[in-house]
Symmetry: C2
Subunit: 567 residues, 2 copies
Amino acid sequence: MTTDMDIALNAELDSIIDIAAGLGLESQDIIPYGWTKAKVPVDVLDKAAETTSDGHLILVTAMSPTPAGEGKTTTSIGLADGLNELARSKPDVGQAVLALREPSMGPVFGMKGGAAGGGYAQVVPMEDINLHFTGDFAAIAAANNLAATMLDNHIHHGNELDVDPRRIHIRRVVDLNDRALRGVVIGLGGLNGGVPREDAFDIVVASEVMAVFCLSTSLTDLKQRLGRIVLAHNRSREPITVNDIGAAGALTALLRSALAPNLVQSLEHSPAFIHGGPFANIAHGCNSLLATKAALSLGDWTVTEAGFGADLGAEKFLGIKCRTAGIWPSAVVVVATLRALKYHGGISVADVQTPNTEAVIEGMSNLEHHCGNLLNIYGLTPVVCFNRFPTDTDEEMTAAIEHLRSKGISAVESTHWADGGKGALALAEAVVEAAGGAEKAGSGARYSYELDRPLEEKIRTIAQRIYGAADVDLPTKVTRKLKQFTDEGYGDAPICVAKTQYSLSTDGSLRGAPKDHIIEVKDVRLSAGAGFVVVIAGDIMTMPGLPKEPSALTIDVTEDGNITGLF
Amino acid sequence: MTTDMDIALNAELDSIIDIAAGLGLESQDIIPYGWTKAKVPVDVLDKAAETTSDGHLILVTAMSPTPAGEGKTTTSIGLADGLNELARSKPDVGQAVLALREPSMGPVFGMKGGAAGGGYAQVVPMEDINLHFTGDFAAIAAANNLAATMLDNHIHHGNELDVDPRRIHIRRVVDLNDRALRGVVIGLGGLNGGVPREDAFDIVVASEVMAVFCLSTSLTDLKQRLGRIVLAHNRSREPITVNDIGAAGALTALLRSALAPNLVQSLEHSPAFIHGGPFANIAHGCNSLLATKAALSLGDWTVTEAGFGADLGAEKFLGIKCRTAGIWPSAVVVVATLRALKYHGGISVADVQTPNTEAVIEGMSNLEHHCGNLLNIYGLTPVVCFNRFPTDTDEEMTAAIEHLRSKGISAVESTHWADGGKGALALAEAVVEAAGGAEKAGSGARYSYELDRPLEEKIRTIAQRIYGAADVDLPTKVTRKLKQFTDEGYGDAPICVAKTQYSLSTDGSLRGAPKDHIIEVKDVRLSAGAGFVVVIAGDIMTMPGLPKEPSALTIDVTEDGNITGLF
């Protein structure tokens, strides 16, 4: 069988200088990392943004996924390649540019594998993108860990700020799935080994530094946001920030080079900015704001994705990132698969490959709920893209597409995984049409809630409008914390909900479009640097573990230096 | 005052493509990291080594230093610039290339600051070299930590290898001074949070992966060495290696890109390979073997340094690295300062800036001991370089130089810190002369001990021949472990002593050239991947801590992106 890795290794890559030139960038404008990767400095992007008008922004999101995922990254890459393929016959379509998240090494060595697309819809060099890439995650880990170190060192050297060791929020991070670090005690090294306390490590993508990095509009904004991160509370329950321990400058120095977005290419040479990758639960789950802005100012079409289903990913993309950046999509692609429809139609995961048109139609309730949200709440035009799998039958596919079209929803099938950009031509055409219609209508940004409403009301609004919940359950501990955040001046912050992606509810086993459910909020956290309030409505794992037989066992390097076993 | 940072930021750097071209490398041969840094792939270096003969190798070492350090890195850079300055008037001298260690971020944010030279003898871009550089240390940390994670995960999932949790040797690492991680308990995250056990973190430069990285001759050799690292012992006291847990391929994949040496330049555009940086106590303390080989095959002169004084750094450089690589220096520069001589002459650190010619001569016992070792044991020609400080008087300097010359030892003063390469012309000329003489004599490699001797005898030989000790004290625990290493097949390994650098003895307060002292060995460890036996004869700190006012507090970034406060 031809693996993703085989396809990627056999690809002929263009020089990154040529890819940059296609975006109007001189070779001296970019910072090469080898000849197929580069960073584009923020000042170069600022200059480009001044002289060009933004292209069309297309968000790729999804219905509530199955555990296998429905292929948002692959579809994003396919769409960009499809748009660029379309432009070959219709030059006025213009150029499509990708804006995607960087993969974490945790899944690479764990279970899920790499995150650079798949089949003939990949970004390359995939082995570099999946392993270290340009070092951004290492820089983010170092910045996060320096803050943690400086805080513990402050306590060790006398604790002038009266930090309460039981109220420390910053956790050290690694970019690995290291379950043994989920719960630790540190500071046991004797008199010079710090002050003992309970602690835990997170994976780097779960850090607030990562969220801050991805929402920053400039180096100055980055420093200000880093400075606001609340590391701990003191014994008077006042917040202790990065600024309080004097670490904002050093953290910014560690992140200075990383902040420039990374440029690579798809297998078909579509330019791709791949930069940042915050968790989609306790953070907002999309690539850096600077990468999206870069794609918007340098290309005619920006194709970007947001983590999980539309209830989480699109909501946070629109309500947090677009609101911060002052941008808005022209259309939204909702990735769906027949297997996910069947799953939401009541079929078990083991049986979703068996043809079953009835179950496909039964599962439409979930997909239609997401499409309805996009249209009615945000005023956005959804385009449903069926990411075709080899086991899908024509009968099921035709029924699914006709069902949606009968409801007035644009729907196409796409074979980019097997066929690359040519397989996504129908999708590209549907997106161009949807974006054209939306831009003619010119409705502009509409959010699911307004920032000036009380925090509790904003949470309830999301639950009822987006998830279709009857209400939210907010324990006293939570309402007390919300009041505290408001008192501390964060009442105007947007909401970032952490809940299961497998259901519109907080119960992962409730499929389709559950009604009358209650969103149970367990806790709330302030991410003062990122600038949002995290609402925890589920068990959120911030440090994954390795399975018994992790992918790391199959990864190897040949004598001539080729990596094998990455998938 | 003009700081190192001011000088570095005002420097006009050549494009790294031009620096590479000066070494005969095409632009497509190198992997640029921006326009002033690059990696040179190992296969390119292998090809170059086949077609050229090696240049002259010059080791820069030092007398027993004061805590402030005597300026080995600065002198190495000055010497390379001095040789290249000399070549401008005498073209047949040829080109000098540096091979140096990469700085750790621990000292950068802690107390010591950066490690890219100083004054007008620096390698640039210093702010990049001191912060992340090309990501090598992050890759080494990730590889080390993946091995640790996989081991704990193996125990969690049933422990088929019967790993004894009390006999785990691998420690997780970070590239920060994080004292709170000196002693920890991990695995406290409940049922899915691993198995609880005592643990500790080290700084990345103290990891065996770092030592392995720096001694590897190829990617294949790297994988084999990584595979041999002993992570733990099982309950039957048998070693559990990286190969046993199936991690060698994944670790090698993480290090594949990092293994290519990094190329930068000095302020005067001398090419500089800066690559790897193992501890000089529990490891061998010099840059990667591949970087040294790269400099040797691409340049006419290779100037390289080894950590600490000559008793530790030169001994390990010669006995471990040169023996592994099959290389040998043509001359050795011994860096000395008047302040270190006065210190060894009995003056307190507070008073070493006060002129005192008598103390200078009194302290010569230390310097002469090191020079005597180099000459008599290794058959190498020492050139003493007085790294001149502004407070040094001409009278002291003349007395020092005349004293050494009267004993037949080549000695010069050098003002590279203030004057760059022009200030090191006398040093360059002395080195060329010494190397010419040595190569004419052609004595070849002579080690302080032969590998085929028993481990215990090798330790005693180093103590008596190099340190001038009367004997070694080996507790039963140590002799038992040495027997075990021998039984396991490591009897032929070289010895890597970890002891104080401030004295030839194991008592840091014994200055000059102490006699009749006993080397007390506390413990021995096998570094099976690196291929040496570590002899611990002192308190070795493998995780430094931050001071109360760490340098991190002064590091900042200006709005236009310049880093300030690095020194």
